[in-house]
């Protein structure tokens, strides 16, 4: 880990960040391929892989559904070089077509980054040549730069100083890929914003979407750094109940998935009930049952159609002791408000 930033560097950092902020993230909205990203043949005792579940059609459908689609937020004014607006005189059909195009463009922005586990570090040794030891004073890296190969499949082979020939580690691959096939907006070295103490400072300011956007741009989704940064951000959002900040961004789905995966749905569920988003809440419970098919909720909500009922069942079966009362109170408050509304009507 790098040394903490000294006072004298702060101004330089600001200057640098100013020149870099806002522009690259918006302009380079990163696209992910939709099929399975990494499948290593070896099956080792590792943590459960969230990716296959995340990529299920049902899960994707639920995640897209719980994320609201507010085009004014997705396409909120961004800092761009000053430019004159242009005006068009359109018939109703032309206008409708233009609006549909804009919605389509906005929808591509909402593509969710895949939720993956930390990548496996396997660097099989290709050959041991002790006679080459001491021949050079730096490692030799050989890269396959054939046009059209994806970065994940590219061959990167390293000759160590002691003469060992092996495949490159994940870190080496990232670096070499960025040199030969640079991604726009990605930096050679990890920006210091992602260092834990700086990250906390940024999260305290509430720049959640900003951090997550930049993380998507800077890291691969299975990079340990990416997983650390995103998970910490989700936790911070959960602690401060700022779920609405991530609505209508590409990060709402992965965040909900994270909470469901780690069985800490209650704050998000409460937020949804409070905002009168019961169908979203019930979708979230369904997502929970897909991720945890062995849970009691899964058995009990089968055949239940009512959204509120679904949430109530979740509250009874899954909620941890500390949250149970709060969630029940929230549901109660919601019901009271509904009754009042009905009475008034």
């Amino acid at each position: 880990m790098a040394a903490p930033i000294s006072e004298s560097l702060i101004s330089l950092l600001r200057c640098y960040c100013k020149s870099f902020r806002c522009y690259p993230i918006r302009t380079h909205c990163r696209r992910y391929c939709t099929n399975s990203l990494s499948k290593t043949g070896r099956e080792q005792p590792r943590a459960r892989d969230p990716l296959p579940i995340f990529l299920k059609d049902e899960v994707q459908r639920l995640l897209y559904r719980i994320n609201s689609f507010d085009i004014s937020k997705i396409c909120a004014p961004q800092k761009v070089p000053s430019r004159k607006p242009h005006y068009e005189l359109l018939t109703d059909t032309q206008l409708q077509k233009k609006q549909e195009e804009a919605v389509e463009r906005a929808q591509t922005r909402l593509q969710m980054p895949p939720v993956m586990r930390v990548r496996e570090e396997v660097n099989p040794v290709l050959s041991q040549d002790p006679e080459l030891a001491g021949l050079m004073d730096a490692k030799l890296v050989c890269v396959d730069i054939t046009y059209g190969i994806s970065d994940r499949k590219r061959h990167v082979v390293v000759r160590d100083l002691d003469g060992t020939l092996r495949h490159g580690t994940g870190e080496e691959r990232d670096r070499i890929n960025q040199i030969y096939n640079p991604k726009p907006g990605r930096q050679m070295f990890t920006p210091r914003i992602f260092e834990p103490e700086n990250l906390e400072a940024v999260l305290d300011k509430g720049w959640y979407a900003y951090v997550l956007d930049w993380a998507c741009l800077q890291f691969e989704p299975d990079q340990p750094e990416y997983i650390r940064v995103t998970q910490r951000t989700y936790e911070h959002v959960g602690e401060n109940k700022k779920f609405d900040d991530l609505r209508s961004t590409r990060h709402f789905g992965p965040m909900a998935f994270y909470f469901a995966w780690h069985k800490s749905l209650e704050p998000l569920l409460m937020d949804m009930v409070q905002r009168d988003l019961l169908s979203d809440g019930s979708d979230l419970v369904h997502l929970f049952t897909i991720i945890h098919p062995d849970s009691e909720t899964c058995q009990r909500i089968r055949g239940v159609d009512d959204d509120l009922q679904t949430i109530k069942i979740f509250c009874e079966t899954e909620t941890s002791h500390s949250y149970k009362g709060q969630l029940q109170l929230t549901i109660q408050a919601y019901e009271d408000a509904q009754n009042l509304h009905v009475d008034a009507a």
């Binding site: 790098a2 040394a3 930033i5 000294s6 004298s8 560097l9 330089l12 950092l13 200057c15 640098y16 960040c17 020149s19 085009i71 004014s72 396409c75 909120a76 004014p77 961004q78 800092k79 761009v80 000053s82 430019r83 004159k84 607006p85 242009h86 005006y87 068009e88 005189l89 359109l90 018939t91 109703d92 059909t93 206008l95 233009k98 609006q99 804009a102 463009r105 906005a106 930096q187 070295f189 920006p191 210091r192």
Partner: protein, 429 residues
């Protein structure tokens, strides 16, 4: 003895004899002379001869003497000399001096001190002299001798130097109960005009052309003439307050559309601009925009740019004849839609027709919003020529040498931010 005196001081006596202009002096001198003549041979062996030196100091007034030193002769004046005044100004030496007070610090009862103090009679006495008196006097003299121009704050000055055009002269005077709150009047043109009359000959007047407005779309312009400047300004300002027009602005910051407007030989192309662009145009138009409350605009003036009155007339006429987006939508029965880069070109309906929108467009219908109101006219756009040095070989070589160091600064900043800049290790500590 008289003869001796005469022999010793012949010039002095001649001087005294010639001092005829001052009757008093003459009398005194004559008396003195006669006195010495009478007394000299009889009373004693020595004689007291009083002399009066003659010079122009005694003959001319202070003003006349000063004129002689620093002024210009009548002939010189006709040739145009001394127009800007002399370097030094006349100093009034009496200024700051109090009667009876001097260097010695004497107390003269009745002159610079009261006669009685309590029940005691104040005596003539000497006190310690005031040391600062001379310095204070000198300060006063310096103050009056140097020319001091009253300083106008930079933002209240006009377009140029000490001239009037561009300057603010406040709101028009209230009419009855109506006070022109929030109004500001700016001078656009200020000049002297002459008229030949049979009786008076060349009769001169001041002509003042002003624009007044409340920065919220209400504005008017007027011309005022009067024999003196202040009156001309007041007249123009108050007239402008009586001919106010309401000018529609798009989102309170710019015009609704590009347009062309013309008055005599002055034609203006006005362009709608985005927020933050600023007012980029002729200085008179800029002042008008400030008064109306238009923040973003681009204007190109063609033809006569110096006729401020026609320029103003043309600009106001153009602004008043604008068509709002709603009017346009109703006229063409089409939606007026705005696209902005910063919102990723999401269509924003600015106006839709109040009646039903039509669904077909005519062939070759001009719907280009940019040129909709130019009336077929085109702005004269002259491409800026490339600077001469771009053709020189040294420029090419400079480009080559700069090619090596491109992006170095930003890379260095990035390294500094990451703490891996080798040249700045000292900063890290």
């Amino acid at each position: 003895m008289t003869s001796i005196c005469l022999r010793f001081f012949p010039r002095t006596f001649a001087g005294i004899l010639a001092t005829e202009s001052s009757a008093l002096l003459w009398n005194v001198n004559c008396l003195a002379w006669r006195h010495t003549q009478l007394l000299a041979p009889t009373v004693c062996g020595t004689s007291h001869v009083q002399t009066r030196n003659y010079s122009f100091f005694t003959k001319l007034t202070a003003n006349e003497i000063w004129q002689g030193v620093s002024g210009v002769s009548n002939a010189g004046r006709k040739r145009g000399r001394g127009k800007r005044g002399s370097g030094r100004r006349q100093v009034d030496l009496n200024r700051g001096q109090v009667h009876g007070e001097g260097r010695g610090g004497m107390v003269w009862p009745g002159l610079n001190a009261p006669v009685m103090k309590g029940r005691e009679l104040v005596k003539i006495r000497k006190e310690a002299p005031n040391q600062q008196r001379i310095e204070e006097l000198q300060k006063l003299r310096d103050k009056s001798s140097k020319f001091r121009q009253s300083k106008i704050p930079a933002l209240q000055r006009g377009w140029t130097g000490a001239k009037f055009p561009g300057r603010s002269i406040g709101p028009p005077d209230p009419i009855g109960d109506y006070k022109f709150d929030g109004f500001d009047t700016r001078i656009l043109e200020f000049k002297m005009v002459t008229n030949m009359t049979g009786n008076l000959g060349r009769k001169q007047k001041f002509s003042c052309f002003v624009v007044t407005g409340n920065q919220k779309g209400l504005a008017g312009y007027a011309l005022g003439k009067a024999p003196n400047a202040r009156a001309a300004m007041r007249k123009a300002r108050n007239r402008a307050g009586q001919v106010l027009h309401y000018i529609e602005r798009y989102e309170d910051h710019t015009v609704f559309h590009n347009f062309h407007t013309k008055e005599r030989q002055t034609s203006i192309f006005v362009k709608k601009k985005e927020k933050g662009f600023g007012v980029v145009c002729h200085r008179a138009l800029k002042t008008i925009c400030e008064v109306i409350g238009i923040d973003d605009l681009y204007c190109q003036v063609e033809g006569s740019t110096k006729n401020i009155q026609n320029l103003t007339k043309a600009f106001f006429a153009g602004l008043i004849n604008q068509e709002t987006h709603q009017e346009l939508a109703d006229r063409l029965k089409l939606n007026v839609v705005e696209f902005r880069k910063e919102t990723d070109f999401v269509p924003r309906i600015v106006a839709s027709p109040t009646c039903e929108a039509r669904d077909t467009l005519e062939k070759d219908e001009n719907l280009d919003f940019e040129n909709l109101y130019y009336g077929g006219k085109l702005e004269y756009y002259k491409k800026k020529p490339a600077p001469f040095y771009k053709k020189l070989p040294c420029y090419k070589w400079k480009q080559v040498s700069m090619h090596k160091s491109r992006n170095q600064r930003s890379a260095q900043l990035q390294r500094l931010a990451l703490g891996i800049e080798p040249s700045n290790k000292s900063l890290e500590q």
